[in-house]
Every structure is written in structure tokens, then in C-alpha cells.
Amino acid sequence: MGLVPGYVKGLGVTFRTMTRRAVTVQYPRVKEAPAPRARGVIALSTENCTVCMLCARECPVWCIFIEGHNDWEPPRREGGKPKKGFVLDRFDIDYSLCMYCGICVEVCPFDALFWSPEFEYSEANIAELLHDKGRLVDWLQTVPEAPALEVGAQAKKGAK
């Protein structure tokens, strides 16, 4: 192809691309599934959460707000002493501040936070981006199974 002058080769490239299929995906009608590990939104399972505030403290942008209070929990074994426990009143994540770094999910010692690849939750009014506890629990259904690891990988002991 040495002797074909540069500008003719260029024309060839554009013509060849014209004859091939375009790659555009027309979003509202055709949706591409994001990767299972994609960090779309954070889901919360309130049973695991022990209000230890680690995630709120480790978040670089301070976008997690937690409130809880002490309460007596029914004794596990009947006749036992009521157990001191704590109840989660408020667990808000402000997605207008969140930068999806995933430190909270990693640092949580009780596996209460999970990533879900859901990404279609944009709002017209920015205040609605403050997801309260209810919505975070709703996201739980969209959390996929952790994908199997590549060959040669050593599964971490408590793989999240």
C-alpha cells in the first residue's frame, strides 16, 4: 500500500466505516446491562447495620448521615435479660455529594452496605438525591451475585 497516496487511504477508511454497522445504542429503547461489579448505587441491609458510624467517618466527602438510639431488645432465650441494643433511626446517603469511591462499602465491618449497578435514579430536583433509609433498602433487590473470580485468583476469606 506504499504507493497509494495518503489522502486516498484516508478516503478508503471513511468509506469502509460508512459501509459497516454503526455502534450507537439508542438508549431509551435499547438498554445495555452494566457490568455486575459496576458501582451504581449503594444498598443498605438494616439487619446487619450496628450503627458503628465507621462508614460515616471514613467517607471522604462526608455524605453519609446516621442517627440511632439505644433500646432494649427482647432477650434471645426466653427468660433471659433484655439485651442492650441500638436501633437505626436515620441512614441517609446524599448522592449529590457521593463520588462512588466505595470506601464505605469496604470499611463496613458487618457487610451492611452493598454495591448495585443500578444507575437510573437521576432527579430533577437535587434535594431528592438524598436517599433515605427506605430507598437504600429498596436497592437491595438490585444487588447482583458477586461474579466468580478469574482462574488463578485466590478467593479472599470473607469475599464481599
Binding site: 458510624m53 467517618r57 467517607c59 448521615f65 440511632g68 439505644n70 442492650k84 441500638f86
Partner: protein, 264 residues
């Protein structure tokens, strides 16, 4: 870690001897040329630090460039060794406690550290032998002056403007010391340790922790003197040990009930 001060002619720590003959040679050459102007040098983990007397700063840089072959100008910046008052804002909002004044404790100055609070360090690289040297020089706080190396390395222009803007060191002979990043009317030197980080002063820290009585238990005396105004804003941890504000404030009462005011 290798000991701090390592005079030029002292034998290097044994395990480094065979690794850094090239760097030791550089130190020898500098020592031979400038004698006591080379105040201190340190070799650790395959890297070389040399501290130079402020007077012969430009001369050493020119010598490194012309004779020792350090032709690649990497960067130049400043260091402030004042201890770090609690910039991170991760402290408890103790409304009635008197503000803890950061006592001006100057920390020891890392490798080839001098005794003044400020330092300028510049890094040059010798492309052929892949050896990099970090030249350090002390800058005294009262009159932070240093002569410029722009005539030697034209690339130092922007670096010195940024260091002047961020630390307040005046580089004599610099073609045009004007602001690089900050707006013209900006006063104060942001990268100094005593310059507060405003964004974290205003907002209270969401990871705040305080103690709240168990419902139905006998109300501890802390709650007696004035009820918590609906528990939302006045977070008054009474038995909180007033330790160093900088390090990890609250991780010991693991099962402590958490309540904090929410300011979102």
C-alpha cells in the same frame, strides 16, 4: 530507618554500600567541590537527599547540572514542618470547651532536616545514569529569601511562582513572581500548616459520636443538668477523654449509642 544525620564522609550503613555507589559518588563530588556548603546528605532505599547551605543554593544547582550531568529538571517545591493543627475538622464540637491552641511544636525534619520551620526542595535527574537527587535548603521564617534557579533551569519559572504563592518564599532574581493559581487579591499562603481548611471548619463532622442514656435506665447525672434540646444539636460528650485531637478520636466505646446532630 537509617539514622537521620549522615555526614558526607561517614561510612554508609553496610547494607546500602554496594547498592548506591553511584549516589555515594555524587555526594563525594559535591562534598569535594563545596566542602561545608553541603551540610548533610542521606541515602535510603535507592534515593539521595542532599541539604545545601542557603548561600550556595544556585551554585550547587549549576554544578549539578553542568558537571554532574543532572540535566533533567523534575520539580521544585516547599515544606512547612510546623505540627499539623487539627485541620481535618474531625473533632467533636465541644461548644463550651475552650479552643485547644495548637502548641507550636516544630517536628523533627525528616531526612537531612535542618532546624528552621521552612525548607525548599528541588529534584534533578541524570538521564544517562537514572540517578535522581533531591536538593534541600533551609529557609528561615523571618526573611524567607532564596535566590532563583531560573537562569539555570528555565522550567523552574512556574515552580518558583507556585512555591512563592503557596508558601511565601521570595525568590530573588525571578523574572516575574506573580500568582499562578490563586486570584490576584488572595492573601495568606495556603500550603502553610497554619492556614485553615475552611470547607471543614464550617460543617460539623457527620461521623460524630456522643453518649445518650439508655431509655428507662436511671437517668445518668449527665442528662440531669439541662435536657438535651430534642437530642438533635447539642452533642456534649462528657466523659470524652480530651486527647490529642489529631489522632483517631473515638473508637473505644464500640457499642456506645450514637447520636449526632444532623446538619444536612
Amino acid at each position: 530507618m537509617a539514622d537521620e544525620t549522615l555526614t558526607a564522609d561517614a561510612a554508609d550503613a553496610p547494607e546500602e554500600v554496594e547498592v548506591d555507589s553511584a549516589r555515594a559518588a555524587v555526594v563525594e563530588a559535591l562534598g569535594a567541590q563545596f566542602g561545608d556548603a553541603i551540610v548533610d546528605s542521606h541515602i535510603a532505599k535507592g534515593d539521595l537527599w542532599v541539604r545545601v547551605a542557603p548561600a550556595s543554593w544556585a551554585a550547587v544547582v549549576r554544578f549539578c547540572k553542568d558537571v554532574l550531568g543532572f540535566r533533567f529538571f523534575d520539580f521544585l517545591s516547599g515544606l512547612d514542618w510546623l505540627n499539623n493543627p487539627d485541620l481535618s475538622g474531625e473533632k467533636v464540637w465541644d461548644l463550651d470547651a475552650e479552643p485547644t491552641v495548637a502548641e507550636p511544636r516544630i517536628l523533627d525534619r525528616g531526612y537531612t532536616g535542618g532546624d528552621t520551620r521552612f525548607q525548599v526542595f528541588c529534584r534533578l535527574i541524570n538521564i544517562d545514569t537514572h540517578v535522581g537527587v533531591t536538593l534541600k535548603v533551609d529557609v528561615d521564617e523571618a526573611a524567607p529569601h532564596l535566590d532563583t534557579i531560573v537562569p539555570i533551569f528555565a522550567g523552574a519559572d512556574w515552580h518558583e511562582r507556585e512555591t512563592w504563592e503557596m508558601f511565601g518564599f521570595i525568590f530573588d532574581g525571578h523574572p516575574g513572581l506573580r500568582h499562578l493559581y490563586l486570584p490576584g487579591a488572595f492573601e495568606g499562603f495556603p500550603l502553610r500548616k497554619d492556614f485553615p481548611l475552611l470547607s471543614r471548619e464550617i460543617r460539623p463532622w457527620p461521623g460524630l459520636v456522643d453518649k445518650e442514656p439508655m431509655p428507662g435506665e436511671n437517668v445518668p447525672e449527665s442528662a440531669a443538668e439541662g435536657s438535651l434540646p430534642d437530642g438533635a444539636d447539642a452533642a456534649l460528650p462528657k466523659d470524652e477523654p480530651k486527647d490529642e485531637p489529631k489522632d483517631e478520636p473515638k473508637d473505644e466505646p464500640k457499642d456506645e449509642p450514637k447520636d449526632e446532630e444532623d446538619s444536612a
